[in-house]
Symmetry: C2
């Protein structure tokens, strides 16, 4: 059934059951989103009353649609879902996404079992029920029922997201679109009645468009299977996981010392480490970490820090030490060359503080010299865009430098509108930007760690 | 000399030495900022060549200004500074801010000693040299030499900032203005040749407009004095400190086991804890923590979590446990009342998941019931603004509820433009908003801790 997930992510035709002309209905938003984003497969609205939905011919029932359907998106009250799914199976609909809630999550176990039964009978993969939907920006497949004006969709890219929570999924989508991070596939798997996290992990592990997998999980159906799958996939591509439910430790630990529940979360962490998973400690980490994998692997642990703000340099050194990386010891030659080009009040060292009056040219000349220094494994360039001497020319300097080196490079910049504008551009040219030294260095450390896993 | 700091923060007249008509000069930006922001004291530009600076009458020398000067802002090459300061002292200028760099920080110790000598001779407080400047939004005093289009200034408020690093100071200012956080005073103290962190702490500790003090320090001149001052002030108002230079530990620890340098940072942390300082672990913490002090103190540790996203609720519980706070155990009465108003698929519990289809009215009705529950010490309300049923009416619900309770309340919302718009409004009505559960709960924990210190 895993192979058939292509009909979920890449359907040539979609039936929307529960499609509506009423803006407050989920079935309205799904149709509107498909139209507005320009999904270029066939859309068949299904509505028991209306003959026309948002300008498209509507059908009374799935079985009345006289064409092949690769995916049925179902958004009707729970009690009607098994009937519609059965009808879809008979009609040879290739896959289904059940948006509707009201199943196992509120105790309606029988209703959910019917879905599993029908799915198996027709060998028809089902996402959900109780899912926020599926997104594939490349082909404009979008069953997410949130309006686009409230939640912008990310553009096309190499990151795929598997999330147990729709709400967290929404937050992930928004961070991605705000930060101009492109996605390959997004799936909120809801109750996982049929297709679960392990199936999705396998499918996306083999998906050539997916370069990195991000997951948010609260628990998994079958730990052993899941960790075996992870072991395979982390060798091929980075898997970054945010696992919620830590509190079980603390609660249980307080109650007793048997450690049954406690062992549970600890087991996850241990298994993640063994299987090469990159652990996200907070929501932000998911993208902070994923961005770093656009970079080549570092040869070693030695970091060069270039800055126009002394304090930021100090905080970055703190983070480097905290994360068990090292400051590069630049060569005497580099130091003496730097002396020639820097003003007398700048000290050639690492961190290299170019001083608050540094302009783009001072960055360029310094980076040019550092480029040749073999003691450097990775670059952190801090730019305070607020200084008088800083302007947009720094973009050329950074982007050009990046194109000439084969080492990881990140930019740290903290600031408002003016700074954000520039950071977006830097990100788009393949240099990950971070708000804080902590985030930047944690990401570089993850890149360093993952090198070993991928080369195992 | 500390009392005379009023002339630094609140001068009725300012001379800008090095004022300029050339936009690439620091002395240009300072004059432009004072004019644009509407400083309503007297501005006297000093320039050796020009008779008119940006429409203002200019003077050749400080001594030629025929009026009283309460503050001289000096932005000329280092070698000219002692002469100008001496002239200012003779002319009975009441205080000085030396923007110019090129002193002790690059080894020119003699030049800096001259400044100390002149300052003492005339009992004239000096900020700097090598400072980014001083800001007092209430009276539009602004000697920060960064253009406003690059670095927006925050509005008037109760937070004062003392920073050793200009660059970090700039980042702090930007976060404040972006987040609509108001400032009382801001000072970057640079080399602290005369006025140091301890003097500023004392002054702002007594300043009635300063409700909270934020500090960024890399080191202090006199630890004993500093910690004694802290001990006094933390009883009166919260002092939140970000201390950089942790790496000294690691470096030194690696070199030897004598622990001389290592003891240094550890001593800071220990002393901070003893003196009631609130420790910021990262830059973001400064404001995440400071915002919380708009809230009343909680009676106890018990937190109520209300959400329209299940996953966010789980992550919040994790953070609550991590920070050693507790989930409130709401009463049976509350639970049975909640049952009456909630849809069948929502479970009355803590966290209270109002489900993704919750609208403002469902929040209102639930909060109304929770208001009466005595088991609750603080409220965390999570709002996913992206759902179909959520709209701007939630603002009324939250703001009204807040006005009716005497307990701390925070809002967590993650999202892009649409979400940010709403969060700003919520912040402005005195409910601190946070991006992540971790930040929100860490802040509530700090509020709980500070309660004891302030009541000591």
């Amino acid at each position: 059934m895993i192979k058939k997930l292509k009909y979920i992510f890449n359907p040539k035709s979609i039936a929307v059951v529960g499609a509506s002309n009423k803006p407050n209905k989920i079935g309205y938003t799904i149709i509107k989103n498909l139209i507005d984003e320009g999904y270029n497969g066939k859309i068949y609205p299904v509505n028991t009353h209306e003959q026309n939905i948002q300008g498209l011919k509507a059908y009374m029932k799935v079985s009345e649609i006289p064409y092949e359907i690769e995916c049925a998106i179902i958004a009707v009250p729970a009690k009607f879902v098994p009937g519609i799914l059965e009808e879809s199976g008979k009609k040879k609909v290739k896959s289904a996404v059940i948006i509707s809630g009201g199943f196992k999550e509120i105790g309606n176990i029988g209703l959910e079992e019917q879905i599993v039964h029908i799915s198996n009978k027709y060998d028809m993969p089902v996402i959900g029920p109780n899912t926020m939907g599926v997104l594939n920006p490349k082909v404009q497949v979008d069953s997410i029922f949130l309006p686009i004006y409230k939640l912008k969709r990310p553009h096309i890219g190499g990151i795929s997201v598997i999330t147990q929570s729709g709400a967290i999924g929404g937050a992930i989508l928004e961070v991605a679109s705000e930060s101009e991070i492109g996605l390959a596939k997004f799936v909120s798997y809801g109750n996982a009645a049929v297709i679960n996290e392990n199936d999705l992990l396998k499918y996306l592990g083999d998906d050539p468009e997916t370069k990195i997998i991000l997951m948010y999980i609260e628990g998994v159906k079958n730990g052993k299977k899941f960790f075996n799958t992870l072991k395979d996939i982390t060798k091929k591509k980075p898997v970054i996981i945010l696992k919620a439910g830590k509190s079980d430790i603390s609660k249980e630990a307080a109650k007793s010392h048997t450690g049954s529940m406690a062992g549970n979360y600890m087991a996850y962490v241990a298994a993640f480490k063994q299987t090469g998973v990159i652990i996200a400690n907070k929501l932000d980490d998911l993208f902070n970490l994923s961005k770093i994998f656009s970079q080549p692997f570092p040869k070693g642990k030695k970091v060069m820090v270039v800055t126009n703000g002394g304090g930021n340099g100090v905080l970055t050194v703190d983070a480097i030490v905290d994360n068990n990386l090292k400051l590069a010891e630049i060569s005497k030659e580099t130091i003496s060359e730097l002396k020639k080009i820097l003003p007398a009040y700048a000290v050639p060292a690492n961190p290299l503080d170019l001083i608050g009056d540094a302009n783009s040219e001072r960055y360029r000349a310094s980076l040019e010299l550092l480029k040749k220094d073999k003691s450097i494994d990775m670059f952190i360039v801090i730019v305070l865009f607020q200084t008088m001497s800083m302007n947009s020319d720094i973009l050329n300097t950074l982007i050009t430098f990046k194109s000439e080196i084969d080492k990881p490079m990140v930019v740290i910049a903290t600031g408002g509108e003016y700074t954000r504008l520039h950071k977006k551009i830097i990100d788009q040219y393949g240099i990950p930007t971070y708000d804080t030294p902590e985030d930047a260095v944690y990401a570089l450390r993850a890149l360093y760690n993952y090198k070993k896993i991928s080369q195992d």
